[in-house]
Amino acid sequence: MEIRTTYHRKMKEIQNDLLMMGSMVEKAIYQSVNALKERDIDLANRVIADDKKVDMKRFEIEDKCIQLIATQQPMASDLRTIISVINIISEVERIGDHAEGIAKIVIMIGDEPPLKPLIDIPRMTEKTVDMLHRSLDTFVNRDSETAIKIAAEDDEVDNLYDQIFRELISFMVEDPRTITRATRLIWVAHNLERSADRVTNICERVVYMVTGKMEEINVSKY
């Protein structure tokens, strides 16, 4: 017998908000890297402006969680779910900040000629966005096993980051005039690497929500 319909309706609403916030941030990452590929300053500016909306969404969700705790006194798995949401939205918000960071680098680069065609950075982007998307699915499905697997995939992102780092360092060694441009691309890659690390934090929260266990499931080498 369902006796807490108000509570469950509000919890459903929070879950939908979280998914919406997730898709806003996925879009921001794609757009920031597209802006880099296309040298599109307008698009970069739009990513920066849109990040404000992500921040607002985060506050909105957090406020709903606080209201729910204050008025409904959730316990056990209900309590763990709300606490996990509060943690997850802060991770998603920071991933949004990383996208904004990439957009700012795009503006810094301006119309400098490209150093090289982008290959691994788009790969890193795909992988990171895919991990973020699926991590939020594990939240909805309360699937801690898949969450643990997704966290392990962070190693692939770390490997791509290594590869990018090595490649760009060799550019710099060969021709010091590339140092500025190569360094900026390393910053971009670093933002993506950090984003994937934050996805592993989301996965940890899903594991906590489902099992009640607080544990670090994959420690990034960076």
Binding site: M1, E2, I3, R4, Y7, Q73, P74, M75, A76, S77, D78, L79, R80, T211, G212, K213, M214, E215, E216, V219
Partner: protein
């Protein structure tokens, strides 16, 4: 790398390690009706143990087992044992009056006697043979202080207890129990007739008393159990309406990560 936050970290307070009361394979019948089935648990000393569960699951019946209050009801039959400091309180040679002195009880509705505040608290010690006025005065003052009521009633100690507020009356009843120096205090929904402020005062008082006494409380109020207890026992009814112990453990664990699905469903309000 695995960093397991052990649940013991969450249970901060250092509760007594010694078992004060032990229930073993308890079955209780009202005539043909079985009210409690196969309950076993240990109540640690100097701690607060909360008994929670839906209405009719046998919480109050279970609480009354600890000082044989059920003896007063005809047709009650008990199997198993309840030990107080290792001695079965249902043994034939147990003096029930002495038992109830060691295991005191506070009821849902404050029930002061229609006499003065002083006489209410002095009643128990008098019954146990203390006649010296000064000794009684000392006991009354100490008990009222322990019950956090002394300052409020010091000036009107000879006035009727019935003039006190509900919260004050309940603290008076606690003082009355404390006056006979019990080891265990049983509380049956002690705050359900009180307003929120009076409720918090009683909970604070329970917390202080648990430094020296073992407290077992029955409560309907889930937040109260979460706030005020160290250990929590979840009882529920089986299909034949007999109460069983579903889960028993540290309160922090029961309320954040219960092991049994039925406990989870109850405390999250999915049934009840």
């Amino acid at each position: 790398m695995k960093v397991d936050i052990d649940n013991e970290i969450l249970v901060k307070r250092d509760i007594g390690q010694t078992t004060r009361m032990a229930v073993r394979d308890l079955n209780l019948y009202y005539g043909d009706f079985q009210a409690l089935r196969e309950i076993s648990l240990d109540i640690p000393e100097r701690s607060i143990t909360a008994i929670i569960g839906p209405s009719g699951c046998g919480k109050s019946t279970f609480l009354r087992v600890f000082n044989r209050m059920n003896d007063l009801i005809t047709g009650v039959r008990i199997e198993g044992s309840i030990e107080l400091d290792g001695i079965n309180i249902y043994d034939r040679n147990i003096d029930v009056v002495e038992l109830r002195k060691r295991v005191g009880m506070v009821f849902q509705k404050p029930n002061p006697f229609p006499m003065s505040i002083f006489e209410n608290v002095a009643y128990g010690p008098r019954r146990h043979g203390i006649k010296n006025r000064i000794e009684l005065e000392n006991i009354v003052e100490r008990s009222l202080k322990q019950a956090a009521l002394w300052e409020e009633v010091e000036s009107k100690i000879d006035q009727s207890a019935l003039a006190l507020s509900g919260g004050q009356q309940q603290r008076l009843c606690i003082a009355r129990v404390l006056a006979v120096e019990p080891e265990v205090i049983l509380m049956d929904e002690p705050c359900s007739a009180l307003d929120p402020v009076a409720t918090l005062r009683i909970e604070e008082l329970m917390r202080n008393l648990s430094e020296n006494y073992t407290i077992v409380i029955v409560t309907h109020n889930m937040q109260q159990a979460a706030r005020a207890s160290d250990m929590a026992a979840f009882l529920m009814m089986e299909d034949d309406r007999a109460g069983i112990l579903v889960e028993y453990g540290p309160t922090a664990e029961i309320f954040t990560n219960p092991k049994d699905k039925r406990t989870e469903d109850y405390i999250t309000g999915r049934f009840g």
